[in-house]
């Protein structure tokens, strides 16, 4: 396929939101980080510059992935290589946390330092699971009829479980949850009866409120020293625990309330000035709410959810199981990650340290997302071309 032809089938419903979101991200990262950098005596544009650099890298990667032949992403060698590399990196982190605990950042050993850049194996793991599940379920899809389901799912689930488990012990609860959700959604869309998927979603929807209510009625004091339990308590009683860990959520509420409907205006957040922790990553949405108001949040989240919806739509329309699964996997990744972040800053879920896709600062995240967008753009374009070809054939 010639390059110009591929471009002519470019899916603008994906490309335009993608570009707008990373653009908005750059602007908001500058707004959210410049004050605290200035107070610390550092260059206030340093995060702006770094993010800008990563955006350029991301656009190059997206272009390359978009232009690649979609089928090279399902080669045995690539998938095997990815799985092995992911496992090695994650095990390396576990070893590192034992021999060199000082490598921990914010309590978790989640990064591998490679000189000028840090890589986050969890991000690689997300792509690995998406590509591996799409590959394996595409192969085994037809066999996933009754009776054969467990037999065919067992291997992939164990593998995904090991990867997720390795992330969980970093400890990166947020990352592990995202991986588990991606895996779950891909398993349910692999072709097993729809009832299974629906019951899973229903159970999950019921379990979270039930768990929360149980925890409120029967606190677990023996977990008092557990970081995760503290997070959950802070989520349940943010105002009471404002001075003991609940301040993050409370400050996010303050930011949203400060912003009102129309916002305080770009650059005018008060909460970013030392009240919100890491306002340019986990709490960038709070800053957006404060500066651009609910309207601004609606626009940004509208773009993001439209993009996710569009990716699912591409997946629904795709003719091959493989392509559908890639789309669902990518959409699941973005959706779960976004939901965890949003739910955290508005007090629906405990704060898990998950960033907002496309908007939050971070090179690893944007590179992963750019590969994912590249894949989806590639699939969308390929599908369109094939559809065009089919309708041409039908006309003849």
């Amino acid at each position: 396929m010639q390059i110009h032809k591929k471009f002519s089938y470019l899916d603008y419903y994906i490309l335009v939101p993608f570009l707008l979101l990373i653009g908005a991200g750059v602007v908001m990262i500058y707004s959210a980080s410049s004050d605290m950098l200035a107070v610390a005596g550092a260059d206030p544009t340093i995060y702006l510059k770094r993010q800008f650099f990563w955006v350029i890298v991301a656009l190059v990667i997206t272009t390359i992935v978009f232009l690649s032949k979609i089928d090279i992403w399902r080669s045995d060698r690539l998938i095997k290589g990815l799985l092995i590399m992911t496992l090695i990196l994650l095990v390396y982190l576990v070893v590192l946390s034992i021999v060199h605990p000082a490598a921990a950042v914010n309590g978790a050993v989640a990064w591998i330092n490679l000189g000028p850049i840090n890589i986050q194996p969890t991000e690689i793991a997300k792509l690995t699971i998406i590509l591996y599940f799409a590959f394996i379920f595409n192969k085994r899809g037809p066999k996933l009829s009754h009776g054969q389901i467990w037999h065919n799912l067992f291997g992939p689930i164990i593998l995904a479980g090991v990867i997720t488990g390795l992330v969980l012990i970093q400890p990166d609860t947020g990352g592990a949850s995202i991986l588990a959700f991606i895996a779950a959604i891909m398993i349910f869309s692999a072709g097993i009866p729809i009832g299974w998927g629906l019951s899973f979603v229903t159970l999950l929807g019921a379990f979270i409120p039930l768990g929360i209510n149980l925890l409120k009625k029967f606190p677990l004091p023996f977990l008092e020293h557990s970081y995760q339990y503290q997070r959950i308590l802070s989520f349940l009683y943010p105002f009471q625990r404002e001075r003991a860990g609940g301040s993050q959520l409370v400050n996010s509420y303050f930011a949203i309330n400060n912003g009102g409907w129309l916002g305080r205006g770009l650059g005018n957040s008060i909460q970013k000035k030392g009240y919100l922790p890491v306002p340019y990553t986990d709490f960038i949405l709070s800053v957006i709410a404060e500066e651009l108001g609910v309207i601004g949040v609606a626009v940004i989240l509208g773009l993001l959810f439209f993009l996710i919806g569009r990716i699912i739509y591409v997946g629904i329309r795709a003719h091959s199981t493989y392509r559908t699964l890639i789309c669902y996997g990518v959409a699941a990744m973005m959706f779960v990650q976004a939901s965890f972040n949003i739910a955290g800053v508005i007090g629906f879920l405990p704060i898990t340290g998950v960033t907002l896709p496309f908007i939050s600062y971070g090179g690893s995240s944007i590179v992963t997302l750019s590969i994912a967008i590249g894949l989806v753009l590639n699939i969308s374009s390929t599908e369109k071309r094939e559809r065009a070809a089919r309708s041409k054939k039908a006309q003849h």
């Binding site: 037809p142 729809i194 409370v250 009240y275 508005i346």
Partner: protein, 724 residues
């Protein structure tokens, strides 16, 4: 392509359908969650409330900062408006030694050159170069900053400025409010002390009076702090465009005491001499204006220096109001007054001195043998206890008690000093009643005695002792003056005159106990006292175990001053007690009497000095010519920057004014000037002057129009013949 079997196609379609359904479900979840999330954002904004907590209020509270605007603590002045206590700041020195402490541009903000820094600092703080170096050379790797102990504390603004002018990197100061007592030992227990309040409530440093006037008028002096309320970010920076409300501080009021610093200083040094020489356990001295009750000077030993805090670990009690003691024979002033006033005094009747039996107890004269049969008129000058027991018996306990009450014994005077004691009076048994006549068995405070004495001095009119002369509000300018307060008329004018005549006898009669208190040129009346000290229910024995005292009034015919000195148990009693007391009493009383005449004389032909500072020289010269004052000009400028005498001072016609102008200081031609005039010049220029001879200037070592600086030494030759 081989056609797939129908079953396989069916299966494939089913799987695909499942996938599509699942996709649609997923899509619905995505859309649903989007609206749920937006709903939550909208809910937070629309209600402004979560968990019943108003977010707007909470944020306002969170951002709100109150910065205290400290009210200036009122100044305490003496009667001539000299500062006794005022607010100031002191500075504490510290040095940052952490070499990681650098500016953005990598300039060191820590002590880099330790040797140089130590050398410079040693010139300003009382610590050797080597010791400072030792402190700076702290090897503790965790040490960020170091301090220099007491040597680096409480530095004045001047010292701080001078050190800062040396631009030593890493040298910093913290500021803390402090109270300045420029006079050192100066009625210390009366003025009291204000210190930094270190309690948690006032952690950021407020001065609180803990003793004396500082404590009694603490609220008046403190004023009310203001507050500046504004909003900040988490780093403490003010938020732009946030509303600021300011409540101005209300500065504390100034208090002018009745103390006269010239008399007070003189009293301090005189009493100090006595205290050092004879080492009494305690000593007090109080000088009061007899007419108004104003305390002009008062002190006690041991004392403390509020500027250095030296001696503060001793007594915190104001001995003049908080301590009650048995006054001894000075109390006979009261018993004599009572007897005369009630008509029970028979001066010409005789009694047997030496000893008297009171309900089974023997009361003796200080001279155990007595003086034989003597008239009652000698009982007072001889200080005969036996005579006074008899006088008391003649007037009866009831009358005596009545007079004690009239004199305000056993009752607080109400002077504005903290912790005043009311004393006590044992008056049940006839023995008790008898011995009160010579000041035993009754506990009084110095202030009670001063008040009672005033009735005698003031022709029967008793006045309340006052320490505060006025309180003024610096903001409103409102001034409240303390009025003379007559607290009763316990005795008649004639009684008072008779008692004062008896006081004269104490000095003038050959048998008087107070002959040493005579001051040539002045008519004085005194009463001496030698009180036994009760301890554990018994009186102490031994030559020095007494409270020796003397009260005197002068001029005795129309007393201006009452001076009362007490001295307890001198440890080095190298002289008789009355000689020791006289070495304090006589000079102080003399100074007060001289001072009084000094003050009156200039009123005759005085001119009020006009304000000249800030005016053009020509204008000032015109004014001086008009008022008939001569003048000398220092410096070559055209504007007056300083003048002596100061504006509003009373000066005599013909007295010379010294004007300092802007520009370099130059020596004026001082030929014909008086010594006093040259001293004014020295004061204004800081030049050290050495005089030879007396009279008027005939020559000066620095020629006229030569440049002067503060190191200049000027020799002046004076001659009694005016050269002109």
């Amino acid at each position: 392509m081989k056609n797939p079997s129908p079953k396989k196609i069916h299966n494939y379609n089913k799987i695909r359908r499942n996938r599509v359904y699942f996709g649609i479900v997923l899509l619905m979840v995505v859309v649903g969650l989007f609206f749920i999330f937006l709903g939550r954002f909208s809910y937070i904004v629309a209600s402004g409330k979560l968990n019943n907590i108003n977010l707007k209020e909470r944020t306002n509270l969170k951002y709100q900062q109150d910065r205290r605007l400290t009210a200036v603590r009122g100044t305490i002045y003496d009667a001539n408006h000299n500062v006794i206590a005022e607010d100031s700041n002191v500075y504490n020195l510290y040095a940052v030694i952490d070499s990681k402490y650098v500016s953005n541009k990598n300039k060191p903000l820590y002590v880099k050159d330790k040797a140089h820094t130590a050398a410079v600092l040693s010139q300003y703080i009382p610590l050797s170069k080597a010791k400072i170096y030792g402190v700076l050379n702290n090897q503790d790797p965790n040490a960020f900053q170091v301090e220099f102990g007491n040597a680096g504390k409480n530095l004045s603004l001047e010292v701080k400025n001078e050190i800062e002018a040396k631009h030593l990197p890493g040298i910093y100061f913290t500021k803390s409010p402090s109270r300045l007592y420029p006079n050192g030992n100066f009625a210390s227990h009366i003025v009291g002390l204000a210190q930094l309040d270190n309690s948690k409530k006032a952690s950021n440093g407020t001065l609180v009076g803990v003793m004396g006037i500082e404590s009694y008028f603490n609220k008046v002096l403190t004023g009310k702090n203001g507050v500046r309320r504004f909003k900040t970010d988490s780093y403490g920076y003010e938020l732009p465009d946030s509303p600021v409300t300011t409540k101005k501080p209300k500065n504390g009021q100034n208090i002018t005491l009745t103390l006269d610093s010239r008399l007070q200083s003189y009293m301090e040094s005189t009493i100090s001499d006595v205290y050092q020489q004879y080492a009494p356990v305690k000593m007090t001295a109080t000088l009061m204006n007899a007419k108004t009750g104003k305390i002009l000077a008062a002190t006690q030993r041991p004392t403390f220096n509020p500027a250095t805090k030296a001696g503060l670990d001793g007594s915190w009690q104001d001995a003049l109001v908080q301590e009650a003691y048995e006054p001894g024979s000075v109390f006979k002033l009261l018993s004599l007054s009572a007897a005369i006033d009630s008509g029970h005094y028979t001066p010409n009747a005789y009694y047997q001195s030496g000893a008297v039996n009171v309900s089974g107890n023997v009361v003796r004269d200080w001279n155990y043998n007595g003086w034989g049969s003597i008239p009652f008129s000698q009982a007072f000058p001889r200080s005969s206890n036996v005579g006074f027991v008899k006088i008391e018996q003649q007037m009866g306990a009831k009358t005596w008690l009545d007079y004690l009450n009239r004199f305000g014994i056993n009752k607080k005077t109400g002077i504005t000093l903290p912790g005043e004691a009311s004393g006590s009076l044992a008056f049940k048994r006839p023995l008790d009643q008898a011995i009160t006549s010579f000041g035993q068995g009754v506990n009084v405070t110095v202030m009670q005695m001063m008040q009672a004495f005033s009735a005698v001095a003031n022709n029967g009119k008793m006045v309340k002792p006052q320490i505060v002369s006025e309180i003024s509000d610096p903001t409103t300018g409102k001034t409240t003056k303390t009025k003379t307060q007559v607290t009763g008329k316990p005795i008649s004018k004639n009684t008072a005159i008779s008692v004062r005549n008896a006081m004269k006898d104490v000095i003038n009669q050959s048998y008087g106990t107070g002959q040493v208190y005579a001051i040539p040129g002045y008519d004085i009346g005194v009463k001496t006292g030698t009180a036994q000290i009760a301890q554990n229910g018994a009186y102490l024995a031994g030559d020095s175990n007494y409270i020796f005292s003397v009260v005197g009034m002068a001029p005795i015919d129309d007393p201006q001053y009452i001076l009362y000195i007490t001295m307890q148990q001198p440890q080095k009693m190298t002289k008789p007690a009355e000689q020791i007391l006289a070495s304090a009493f006589n000079p102080i009383m003399k100074r007060a009497l001289e001072y009084n005449t000094d003050q009156k004389a200039p009123d005759v032909a005085s001119i009020t000095m006009p304000a000249l500072t800030g005016q053009a020289l020509t204008e000032a010269e015109t004014k001086l010519n008009q008022t008939g004052l001569t003048y000398g000009v220092v410096g070559s400028g055209d504007k007056v920057v300083q003048q002596l005498p100061l504006a509003k001072e009373n000066v005599l016609a013909g007295q010379r004014t010294v004007l300092l102008t802007n520009g370099a200081m130059t020596m004026p031609d001082v030929k014909g000037w008086s010594k006093n005039d040259v001293l004014k010049l020295a004061e204004i220029t800081g030049v050290k002057v050495k005089f030879k001879g007396d009279g008027y200037v005939v020559s000066q070592s620095i020629p006229a129009n030569h440049i002067l600086n503060t190191d200049s030494k000027l020799e002046i030759l004076l001659s009694s013949q005016k050269t002109e």
